[in-house]
Symmetry: C3
């Protein structure tokens, strides 16, 4: 039904793996490498030239763009030259990956998200719709960014100063969270809905507000929606994650990943 491959235009030095499928009206520019079994859907542009192309077309060098195997690029997505995307990478629609980002394996970038360039993301990071990551943002492994999460990088706009932010492994940013430049969020954190983060947040924090403050250790947080403690979430949620069959601790031990120390839950008497 899909992927008729009509009206597709493919540039030079393009390497397509086995079973690659390409949708209609898609344009693939020069020096793009696409892994086996990957799908590029309709109306996409892969290897979009960087801004330097417009400044000096004759001397422009198109960097290599790599999309790993078993990936799925949904329609109307634009991936600039110089992106290096791991295997099992997937996007929603209308995604824009500006130049020279690096994503690990099994990452997802949701509909309309924009990654502004030179961003590094670990493995199994899940960015929902409308996430906006400023240049050089560093995102760890197993990070969840909810819709409309954004990071910024210029503390004195307009300036040439760029101070990117960092988000640690296993951390969760709820919808509409905004990070000021130069903020470091630790591991296993949860930042609450619509918070603005202006200062560093230590590991295992539940932080909320504008500017966001740590209100408790996430490991003692109670919710009416779950009996017991939900966080660290890896013990409750494993859909699509590598510990799905054996549990987090067994997987972590086998893979050299630190097991988060447990805290006793606080009893509300």
């Amino acid at each position: 039904m899909k992927f008729n491959g009509l009206n597709v235009r493919i540039g030079k030095q393009v390497k397509l793996g086995k079973n690659v499928e390409i949708g209609d009206d898609t344009i693939i520019y020069d020096n793009v490498t696409i892994g086996d079994n990957t799908i590029i859907s309709n109306h996409c542009i892969i290897g979009e030239p960087a801004n330097a192309y417009y400044q000096d077309r004759k001397n422009y060098q198109q960097k290599e763009t790599i999309i790993g195997e078993n990936s799925l690029i949904r329609s109307h997505t634009i991936i600039y030259a110089g992106n290096q995307l791991g295997h099992h990478f997937s996007t929603g629609h209308f995604v824009v990956l500006r130049e020279n980002n690096t994503f690990g394996n099994y990452c997802n970038v949701g509909t309309r998200s924009e990654i502004h360039g030179y961003v590094t993301v670990g493995n199994y990071a899940r960015l929902h719709s409308n996430v906006s990551l400023g240049q050089r943002t560093q995102v760890g492994n197993f990070v969840f960014l909810a819709p409309y999460v954004g990071t910024t990088d210029d503390p004195l706009p307009p300036s040439m100063i760029a101070l990117p932010s960092q988000i640690g492994d296993f951390s969760i940013l709820a919808a509409h969270v905004t990070l000021a430049p130069n903020v470091k969020i630790g591991k296993h954190c949860m930042i609450g809905l619509k918070s603005t983060v202006n200062r560093d947040i230590s590991d295992f924090s539940l932080a909320v507000g504008s500017s966001a403050r740590r209100i408790m250790d996430i490991r003692v947080m109670k919710s009416p929606h779950f009996q017991g403690n939900y966080y660290p979430w890896m013990y409750q949620f494993s859909r699509g994650l590598p510990w799905h069959e054996i549990g987090f601790d067994a997987w972590a031990m086998a893979n050299g990943v630190e097991i988060p120390p447990k805290l006793e839950p606080i009893t509300i008497s």
Copy 2:
């Protein structure tokens, strides 16, 4: 001038009504039904296959997609399989309707809005640009959602718990309002600019802030921009609405719609 119908690709079991016009570069997949006099503009995808298609293409069943008569789908819009859209439905550009939403008649979904699936919307709902409705959100009749309004559904991200929100008839959510999961907004409410709603809001509330609190009955609200009481708004505004010629009360009585009880305005002495 428009709708040359060039480079259009149409799948199997597609039923086009009379006078349907289709723009250039548009793709219509299988099992789509489009009512009379409806326009599908350029660069659209109608009947986009659900995620199940990628998991098991051989056994994938493409649900029927229905777009009612006299509708207008603007360019670069993506409508997934399984949507049921009433007549006089319209969209802006770059809209994404994920799978299995149901819209009544005379609804509008603005540019870049995303409806995340299994959402139900009544009649005459107007969603402006960049509205994001989480899965299974329920929206009543004559609801106005301003730009960047968003609803969420996961109270413990990441989890399998989905707690959608509800928005009652005739309610207005101003720009950049965010709803936490599991929130019920009553009828005839107004939620102020950029508020975050964490708890239920009763009928006729003017509610503002983060988290949003009822600050008065909307029927006694004064504004420098209108002499007298503007709300309930149906007595002041009728453009494109069914009571335009006969007035709200006459229309409501003829159609079995409850007439909102009046309150005396507070006199500021």
Copy 3:
């Protein structure tokens, strides 16, 4: 490499200047004028008909659309009929310019920004990604609007009342700033991250919060990221700006632009 000009459709009364390049799958409707050396990239729609087209196609008059010389329209951008865009105008991807906006020279409109119509913008204004300007917003010269800045125009939604906002020359709005209708921001202001502006802001204000209040004169603001006073920013930042080689004061004197009066920095003892 780019701009093969495949599958391009061009309407009537379209005037293309010298060296105009047009990308693949782009549609240019009637009565469009494009200046010399301008690039229109792939998947764009230029001269998109206004809503009146759908109401009465026979009597519809397509207004002229003008894009100045040396401009760059990136892919998937939609420019409605009636826009008048100066020279050296550029856009990101997925931009929507609704009908009848006027932009000066050297302006940039970032990816996914939407300009809702009848908006006027001066020269050298830089709108980043996801900026949303309500109808008839007035933006001055050398204004920087960071990602997700938005202006609104209806104080009593839904109503026919439209009260646009104004943003003065040299002012900076940080990311996620929202303006209520009818707000006037003066010259040389800085509005802080995610603020909501409900009232007028006087010249040279640093204003933050919801609703935003002036907390100091921007000229005395200190930052750990810069020695001395960074603002007025024109003395520290000139990339792509006309005073790049001669400095702001010399340029301002030569061009009849007011030189901002200096304030003594406050000494923190």
